[in-house]
Subunit: 339 residues, 4 copies
């Protein structure tokens, strides 16, 4: 951590900062320039963050040198994390496709979607039983009944299930049914939920918050890993910008950036990322070319009848065409949607 | 709701949309132009939102006419909502000052802050017992012990307490101690929490999410009101933008916009809004001039010793000066910080 | 255009709006609901935009039905625009690579870069003679001397040149040398410059502004086309968001969106889009997979000696590896970097 | 400037960076930690920016210590800059009101507006003769004829004129008529224009770009000052964010931030900042309370007949009411709209 003092600080003020750094066990490295003094704090940056130096009027600013995350970082673990889920492998040479309806509506609907997407190449079934909705008057999901439907469809198709968990007290319930626990964008900083998931031994798919920086996203993953659960899959799903033609702006550059900073796998959700089925196929191909370890795509047997997010859902036919394209792009990078 | 069809849609396609609107009980109003047909859906817009018309390839876009919120709207209730808390009045001629430390650290700290801010003009004591922190390694709050400290300080000072509740299962615990239940920015769309707060008969202070539109913010308030709790206080606390010199960008125009759309009171939190004690006094004055019904300000007896957010905390002395200025600005608008 | 009246508007007020619409030659279509009246204006939306109805207190809002652009739209021209430049084809089956240094520094530097990128697969040489720089103290470009260097390198390599023009009075000078006239992001709404370029018979590469919506970007292209120049190439180069790990956020979803709305070709500049050479190769592949008609990449023989933007420049060796990858991705979509 | 090396850099790599710093005349200060080496570059940071160290693969990041601006900074000039224009004083105890129509349409219109706003308390007349418009089909201004109208109205009213100049070649023409040269948001980084204005001896009102950081805005002012013209007035006019209820998000915290960093006066334009006449009065009061040295407000005799931006224009009556409020707020801070 570098502490930049304001111009014309006195020696006593510099000493005061140095003293406080030493008190918490940090080394101090002074660099006295012509106009200002810069103080290097040597040791754990976390300690500097906690002692409130910014509140001192003669401190101009504080510059962090290291990233605040540890367990998620590539410095902590150099090789890629690879997780096995059912007969899929996330983080290696497979591009894992997760597909299915936004919301679980009925067993027929889920089964039809599951059989369709499986035949096309998807390996994991997605479907929401608990739905976070902007309006209190919108359909809120079938809850446990929805989880049971997903489980029955898993039995019939052999597809592992990824589904959202919305609060820490539902973690054990959802964990009974789900193969991957999904944390939605709005819950990325629900720290109680993250801590509860840290106690599980089950993969967690952590969506990036609508306005979360990459650093905050990785810190959310750090919460889960700090609790002991090492199986975190990151999911880019679009960030909020001024552009209104797309529901969100899918930040594909997050894929190489995260892979540089962290050993965790990253997948991409172009359905929420764009909010419009028209742009989903292009962005699926682009995500794989950017290095994504997988895709999450909304597919509905009759999108125009969907109770939720029909506008961004693909039909099974369109998803099938998309899979063919995605497989070819994956092959360019020595990967495949089949394990 | 206006449904805009793509150019060259056939009559059958128009009929198909009209049919689906009629099926859910909506009136249909066709406007056939030279190039395209526009369909007006007459009745409850919510119904249109739910039937997934955007998924139809011949639908270009859907334009809402009305706002999606009801109970929070000025169309529903024309006169301002005014709530009495202790001997304060929020939403009327009083500019209510809520002040205190970011986090409860000890009884001495809270008491010293409380006595200081009360003498300066604050009427409500703020202090966090449960702290949402970006890093799992940061101080997470004293939890129930913190609530007890707040309660003891209330006894000694007579100041009502506003404190954060972070999940639905703590609502009853926090409600035992708090006079106002605070929902943090990261929880603005924690719908379970909102629903639980809807069952209370106690004011809720709902902070705007970091990237929440005003519409989403009002929809979050709608969740609480739809549950039966009419006492919602909105709190603008800065939104996320590209600017990095301030922690967030305080959106003061949200104050008149919300007051136009809704009857609910709005307060402003310039401490989080700017993230730097230097800009807090100016933005407090500006917020009151913009029409805010109150302010929430972080004050710490020794900001440079604070366990949390010291950089944005004022000393009691600086807060006292600020109160004098704020009172003069309030007077311009026929208001006062004293009830 | 749909004019939504405020609740409880009188018949006279509705009549007043209708009258003004009729006065400018528009058709009027009333839809009187239980709570509010909606007025459809039939005819040229431009006329509605110009008569200032939003200033009337009883007008709630005005909703456009059609896009404000014409000549750039797919409704105006259904098939893709394809432009021939030298022996390249932009907008068809070729993925055109434009590469070279950010700034022209010397003939040796440009020639070395040109020979390198040409051997790797680039078809067009980029290089800046006029440089827009945030600081008045930074290197501002070699100006005409730089253009002459580019022309000499074109002679030696046969590569057409794309270079930036910064104001309308330099258009004729730059046009003497350049094969493609580049408009930088900061000039996207320099309307005088756009109008001057509209008089040329030479391709214009129009970069998206840092905070330009897709609609504004297409309107800027409309300025050029309205002047008579039909050869506009759009270039996505990242937009400004809250994320700080990348210089900008490259909005690849803009590629399919623009291709849906317009017949113009779209290329992508991942060098400015990310600001870091590390992320450029991934984003090049992603851009082509998203459907881009070409790429613009900064390549410098010695990036660490560059007078401008060294941090985002690739070496020739890294660019050569990238071309091999990009070609494979292009092939998946039936395209090639070779014509 | 602090250069942070990647983990496990070799001594030779550190030496290579140190060598390059010394070559341009900078001092070098090594801090070798357990995991990484940090290099402090002592001297002019500009030199570090120019030598492209970020392109070296073993350089992790470069952290600036000082601000890149000089002449505009408070470190350069401690006391506030105060400019006299006509009988107004900008930057001192006067809150200068600039008001008038968005676009000059006719002498009658401008004169009526001028007489109205002058009577209400405005001291400077605003009006656009050159209009930057998003659409090529919109009204583009009366150009020189508009300037002549402004000059005639100045004669009749005694009010100095502020009007926009859109390119460097019109600077001398506009300077013949204008008392203050306005640079629009879209031209904030039109560096040719800034340089030309730097040669004048006349105040320049520099609007903040739609997505300009405060640092970039001050760097634009630095361009003008570096040319020799010290009379720069900054104007906050809203930045682009995700919020759609207001045309832009007026960033009032920019006022105290700029006043901390710079000695230049700052005014606020709530008309463009919000885009809706309804929010203008509140935001005018808020801007003055935040410390603004003046306001720029659009006033039109018949807003609903305006050829440009009618939606955000106030009537003379509304502006008169606003002035009374603004004066009271100014008085709280020992200021007045009358000189």
């Amino acid at each position: 951590m570098i502490i930049v003092m304001r111009k014309d600080t006195t020696e006593e003020q510099v000493e005061q900062v140095a003293e406080r750094l030493k008190n918490v066990g940090l080394g101090v490295h002074l660099s006295v320039g012509e106009f200002r003094t810069i103080i290097g704090a040597i040791g754990d940056e976390k300690l500097v963050r906690e002692i409130g130096l910014e509140a001192l009027p003669f401190v101009e600013k504080i510059l962090p040198i290291t990233q605040p995350f540890k367990l998620v970082s590539r410095e902590f673990q150099e090789e890629d994390s690879v997780f096995n889920i059912g007969n899929c492998t996330i983080g290696g040479k497979q591009v894992v496709l997760m597909a299915g309806p936004c919301a679980v509506e009925s067993e027929e609907q889920v089964l039809e979607a599951a059989l369709g997407v499986k035949a096309a190449g998807a390996r994991i079934l997605r479907g929401g039983a608990f739905k976070p909705r902007t309006s209190p008057y919108s359909f809120q999901g079938l809850e446990e009944k929805g989880l049971q439907i997903l489980a029955r469809v898993r039995e019939q198709t052999g597809m592992p299930i990824v589904t959202e968990v919305m609060d820490q007290h539902s973690v054990s319930l959802v964990a009974e049914y789900a193969d991957i626990m999904q944390v939605g964008a709005r819950n990325m900083q629900n720290f109680y939920l993250l801590r509860e998931l840290g106690k599980l031994n089950k993969p967690v798919l952590l969506k990036r918050g609508l306005s979360a920086t990459i650093e905050e996203w990785l810190m959310a993953a750090e919460y889960i890993m700090a609790g002991g659960n090492r199986q975190v899959i990151l999911c880019e799903r679009g960030i909020r910008t001024f552009e209104t033609m797309t529901r969100n702006t899918l930040d594909l550059s997050a894929v190489p950036v995260v892979k540089h900073l962290s050993h965790l796998p990253v997948i991409v959700d172009p359905s929420h990322g764009t909010g419009n089925w028209r742009w989903v196929p292009s962005m699926c191909c682009a995500a794989v070319a950017a290095g994504a370890d997988g895709l999450m795509v909304e597919v509905h047997p009759q999108p125009e009848q969907a109770l939720c997010d029909g506008a961004q859902s693909l039909t099974v036919a369109k998803f099938t065409t998309l899979c063919t394209q995605v497989e070819k792009v994956a092959n360019v990078f020595g990967k495949s949607i089949r394990g």
